[in-house]
Structures are given as structure tokens and as C-alpha cells.
């Protein structure tokens, strides 16, 4: 199981330390968000985080320059308006990140972005949602590179009490057609939820639960503690059933 924690760049002065701490806690990849003024796919926690980072004076170009080298793949994520300028992808490529996730750039509007990313050797993971019909899901999966981001519920980002059945159903549908690993995010916030998904997806993305801790003043170690907890739960489950698991290539390229 791939574990991809998320952090919002620029939220705290020591945000870059979180990347190393996540890796030490067992992250297989890290999603690094760049703050945007109007994060329409995000729930209250991430809205607060985006506003706080911008209030601190966070600027995307500077954040990309500060992005540290990491032993695992880093994916940048931010909204379409920040991705538009022609030099944005150059900056992402120069940062060492593997690609960009753009939650408000659906497949139909992404051809230019995908071509420009491909030219720069960047992946373009696309998103699918429970409302995505099968034929469209196939089209998105075919265009998605690096990984396929499955949105677990018909909601904005945020912590939830449980993983919706719709999320599991989507992960199964996505996995049936995807040639790249299917990672489930939006509302995955506890080890139990990650476990519930482990049978049906190739990995999980945890964001709001981590950023909630940062916003509440938790230090780097405490925030990364949740990543370690999820890692332990996933590893235990995979040891328990390793012999029966089908073998899959699950590295996010």
C-alpha cells in the first residue's frame, strides 16, 4: 500500500521539515500543495490552511524553490489558475517534483496541460469521483500518469468519521481500468480508514487530518506521528494477508 501524506507548503515556517519527517514515518510519496485564494475543492480545514499560508506571505514560485530533495516522489498540487502561466511547469520541473495534481482541471480541459507536462517529463495524475461514469472513468484513467487520484466521497476535502461505501466502490471501479496505481484521498484521516481501503486501492492520501494538526499548533514530530500510525496499520495488514494478495506494480512512478 502506497502512503502519500499531503502538506500545504508555506503553512508554517518549518513546512519543509515535514517532508523529511513524513518520509521517516514511512511515506512512499508526498503531495505538496501550493496555497490558492479560492480552493473550491477543499473543505473547512484546507480552506483555513490556504488562507493562513497566504496570510503568511506564501508565494508559489518561492515555495517551489524551497522544495527540498526527497528520497520519495513528490507531487505538487494546486488549482488551475496558478498552473496557467507558461513558466509554472518549468518551475515545478526545476523543483524536482514528479508532476502536478490540479483538482479543478478535469480531463476535458487538460490536454494542453498534459502535453506541456509531458514535454517537461512531468506526470499528470487526474482525479476521478464517485459521480464519474464508467466510460468517462476509462478515459480519465487512460490519460492519467503517475497515479490516479480517486476522490472517496461526493464532498470537499476534510476529515470524516468513516470511509464512504462510495469510495470503496470507486476504488474498485478505478482499479479495474487503471494502468497506474489508484490512490484514494478526500476524507481518509485515520489508520482504520486506510485499512478499510487497503483491500481495494493501491494507496491512500491523507491531507486534512495532518493539516488540522498543523493548524492546531502541533510540532513536526506530532504531525508525522499520524503518518507513522497509518504506516504501521497498513504494514501489519499487508503482512497478515501478504500470501493471498495479488501482485501488483504499485510504485508511483
Amino acid at each position: 500500500m502506497i502512503l502519500m501524506p499531503y502538506l500545504l507548503a508555506g503553512l508554517t515556517p518549518d513546512w519543509t521539515d515535514l517532508i523529511g519527517a513524513f518520509v521517516d514515518a514511512g511515506a512512499d510519496a508526498v503531495e505538496v500543495g501550493l496555497p490558492f485564494s479560492d480552493p473550491v475543492a477543499d473543505g473547512p480545514t484546507m480552506q483555513e490552511a490556504n488562507a493562513a499560508a497566504l496570510a503568511r506571505g506564501a508565494r508559489p514560485a518561492a515555495l517551489l524553490r524551497e522544495l527540498p530533495a526527497a528520497p520519495v516522489p513528490i507531487y505538487v498540487s494546486t488549482y488551475a489558475n496558478l498552473v496557467q502561466p507558461p513558466d509554472f511547469l518549468d518551475r515545478v520541473a526545476a523543483s524536482g517534483a514528479r508532476g502536478v495534481v490540479v483538482p479543478d482541471l478535469p480531463v476535458d480541459a487538460s490536454a494542453t496541460h498534459r502535453a506541456a507536462s509531458r514535454e517537461r517529463g512531468l506526470h499528470t495524475p487526474l482525479l476521478v469521483a464517485p459521480s464519474t461514469p464508467d466510460d468517462r472513468l476509462r478515459r480519465i484513467a487512460a490519460a492519467s500518469t503517475g497515479f490516479l487520484y480517486a476522490v472517496s466521497a461526493m464532498r470537499t476535502t476534510g476529515e470524516r468519521a468513516s470511509v464512504a461505501a462510495a469510495g470503496i466502490a470507486l476504488a474498485r471501479r478505478a482499479r479495474a481500468v487503471s494502468k497506474v496505481p489508484v490512490l484514494v484521498g478526500f476524507g481518509v484521516s485515520t489508520p482504520d480508514q486506510a485499512l478499510a481501503l487497503s483491500r481495494h486501492a493501491d494507496g491512500v492520501i491523507i491531507g486534512s487530518a495532518l493539516m488540522r494538526r498543523v493548524l492546531d499548533g502541533a510540532g513536526v514530530a506530532e504531525v508525522a506521528g499520524l503518518v507513522a500510525d497509518v504506516r504501521r496499520a497498513l504494514d501489519k495488514a499487508s503482512t497478515d494477508k501478504a500470501s493471498t494478495d495479488r501482485v501488483r506494480e504499485t510504485d508511483p512512478a
Partner: protein, 376 residues
């Protein structure tokens, strides 16, 4: 049509979860709009419920003072007090046709919220309106009207204006796409909304053109926030020699001061900083307090078919007083921006003496009386 406009304006830049919902709206509108039964029911509602056609008023005293003939298209006299009802009745009919049982809407000045709450009451639908807390404070009469009409009002944080209200409505729509129609209030949002709302508002322009008779106006003027009353008005005059003028609030002038960007599901021009962070608009008029503009206006600006200019808060307030005193009509602060342009341009090369100008008076100013009193 309208899926993309010149320079790729328009489009549908949405979180994936909302894409099928927007496509369903597009498919339903494409099927409904040419359907004579749909059109007949819509026309009947406009005539028997909304009070259309609204009159075209010749401003006798103001025209004499300015030396130009000023015609007002009186959307202030439509039911609920603005042009917003035209769009909302169309979308409510569409929502019912799609089997939706609830309407959600964003609102700035509250005119679109009131119109949506009205249509929801008329159709027996549930209704939730998202409104920024700043706008709630400055548009108290409309807040109460919405509640009186049975709508649930959800205050929205951030700076608490129209931009935040649209964000909140889009976020809410994700979790109720199966039951709920998002009734977007202007020619903004993802495809098909800019086109659909323009089509529902073109009745303003079509009526005005017919009411003008054989003498077409030399200039057609409307205020522009998102730009729905202007889009509906301009639509009927695009094929005439009339010059088209859109007037934005000086503090929310996406066409004058903005650059291309993507927000709220569409590509157009937006006020934004060098990084692409959307800037806050600043206007006395809650309805024009929007950092973007409908994609069709961005296209009309690029092609030069329409010209876009600005009016300050002070000029809009002056125009309110002037129209009250000369014609006995209290315009909405939004509409007063269009009038302010006429007052400033009359007698200049832009609006020479003896010419005829058609102004869309998009709404009445009753909602603004507290603000006007405080600012005067």
C-alpha cells in the same frame, strides 16, 4: 456553442465530482430550450408571474438636462425588483424538468437570492442561499425577504462577498448533485451557465429592441458585475450599429484591470496578483463586488464589439440621487453605475448631444436605502 469562446474563454474547470452535474445541466438545457412546450411555459411565467414585458421609459427631464435622449429598460419593475427573476424562472423550470427538488444559489446584493427563493416557493422546492457575511450586513432587507420566502440562508466567511458565496455554493453542490440544481445567478460559472443565463436574460434586450421601434439607440449601456443584465441586453443589439458599453464598478473592474484566469469553473478575466491569487473586489455595490466577469464579456472586450469602462462609488451614488430627483425612480446601486456613465458621457464624443442611449435599469434601489442614506 459557448463551450469555449474566443481566446478559450468559458469552458468547464470544475472538480471532477461536479463535471457530470454540469454536463447534465447542459444536456437538459440543450434539449429544453428549443422545446416549444418549455418555451411556452417560460413565456407564460414571465408574462403572468414576473410582470413582463417591463416598460421602456423615456426620461423626459433627465434627457432635457443632458441633451441626449435617455431610455430606461425598467427591470426594476419586474417581480422581485430586478432582472434576476428572468434567469431564475428559466432555471427553476429546467430544474423541475430534470427532477431536481432543491435549488441552491449564491447571492451578492441579495437580488438573485431573493429571486431564487421566490422561484423555489413558486415551484414548491427547497432552497438554500449562500451569502457572504459582509453582504448580509449591508443588504439586510433582502436577507429578511429570503427568509420570509422560506429559504435557508447560509452566511459565508472569508471577506464575505460574492466570490466567497460562489465558492460555498459550488462546495455545497458536490454533496447534493442528485437532488439539487445550482441556480447560478449570472453569466459566470462552468458551461453551460454563461450561455444559458444569457439566453434566459435576452428577453431584456429583445423587449427593449422591439419597444424602441424603428429608431434604434445609438448607445446601449448596462452595468457589469458578472454581467447578466448586460449580456441579456447586448444580445439583442449585437447585429445593430449601436455601440455597446458595459460599466463595471471601479473597484471590481475585471475587464479594465484584470487578466485571463480561471475561477468558479470558467476562464475569463479576473482581478489577481502576479502569482495568480484572486484579488478581492471593492465596491459599494454588493452585486458588482466580483473579481471576475462573464466569459462572453471578455470576448466582446477582446473583439471590440463592446467597450467596458468603470464608475466609482461616488459617481454611482450621484446617479442614484439624480435619477430620484429628475425621474422619480430609485435605481439599485448596481444599475446606478450604468447611469453614472451616461451622466459623465453626455455631450462628449462618447455620447454626443442629440443621440439616444438605452440604459438597462437592472433593479430597484429599495434594498440599498440604508447604504445610500449612510453614504449620502
Amino acid at each position: 456553442m459557448f463551450r469555449t469562446l474566443g481566446a478559450d474563454y468559458g469552458g468547464a474547470y470544475l472538480p471532477e465530482a461536479l463535471v457530470p452535474a454540469a454536463e447534465a445541466v447542459a444536456a437538459a438545457f440543450i434539449e429544453a430550450w428549443p422545446d416549444p412546450a418549455f418555451r411556452a411555459e417560460y413565456a407564460d411565467l414571465l408574462a403572468t408571474y414576473a410582470g413582463r414585458p417591463t416598460p421602456l421609459t423615456t426620461c423626459r427631464r433627465l434627457s432635457a438636462e443632458l441633451g441626449v435622449r435617455v431610455l430606461l429598460k425598467r427591470e426594476d419593475l419586474a417581480h422581485t425588483g430586478s432582472h434576476k427573476i428572468n434567469n431564475v424562472l428559466g432555471q427553476a423550470l429546467l430544474a423541475r424538468r430534470m427532477g431536481r427538488t432543491r435549488l441552491i444559489a449564491e447571492t451578492g446584493a441579495g437580488q438573485h437570492g431573493v429571486a431564487t427563493a421566490t422561484a423555489a416557493a413558486l415551484f414548491g422546492m427547497g432552497c438554500t442561499v449562500y451569502m457572504g457575511h459582509t453582504d448580509i450586513a449591508r443588504q439586510a432587507p433582502n436577507v429578511f425577504r429570503m427568509e420570509l420566502l422560506g429559504a435557508e440562508l447560509v452566511p459565508v466567511g472569508g471577506r464575505g462577498t460574492l466570490k466567497d458565496a460562489v465558492n460555498a455554493a459550488l462546495r455545497a453542490w458536490v454533496s447534493e448533485v442528485d437532488t439539487t440544481h445550482y441556480c447560478v445567478g449570472s453569466v459566470i460559472g462552468p458551461y453551460p451557465y454563461p450561455w444559458m443565463v444569457r439566453e434566459f436574460q435576452r428577453v431584456v434586450g429583445d423587449e427593449a429592441r422591439a419597444q424602441c421601434g424603428p429608431t434604434l439607440p445609438d448607445v446601449v449601456v448596462a452595468c457589469v458585475g458578472g454581467g447578466s443584465n448586460a449580456a441579456g441586453t447586448f444580445a439583442a443589439f449585437l447585429d445593430t450599429p449601436a455601440r455597446l458599453v458595459g460599466v463595471e464598478a471601479a473597484g471590481g473592474a475585471a475587464l479594465t484591470n484584470g487578466r485571463p484566469g480561471i475561477l468558479h469553473g470558467f476562464r475569463s478575466r479576473f482581478l489577481q496578483d502576479d502569482d495568480g491569487q484572486i484579488r478581492e473586489a471593492e465596491s459599494i455595490s454588493a452585486g458588482l463586488d466580483y473579481p471576475g466577469v462573464g466569459p462572453e464579456h471578455a470576448m466582446l472586450a477582446d473583439t471590440g464589439r463592446a467597450r467596458y469602462t468603470t464608475a466609482t462609488d461616488a459617481a454611482a451614488l450621484d446617479a442614484v440621487h439624480r435619477l430620484c430627483r429628475t425621474e422619480g425612480i430609485l435605481p439599485a446601486l448596481e444599475s446606478a453605475h450604468a447611469l453614472a456613465w451616461v451622466l459623465a458621457a453626455a455631450g462628449t464624443d462618447e455620447l454626443p448631444a442629440g443621440s439616444t442611449v438605452l440604459v438597462t435599469l437592472s433593479g430597484r434601489g429599495d434594498k440599498d436605502i440604508d447604504q445610500i442614506r449612510e453614504a449620502s
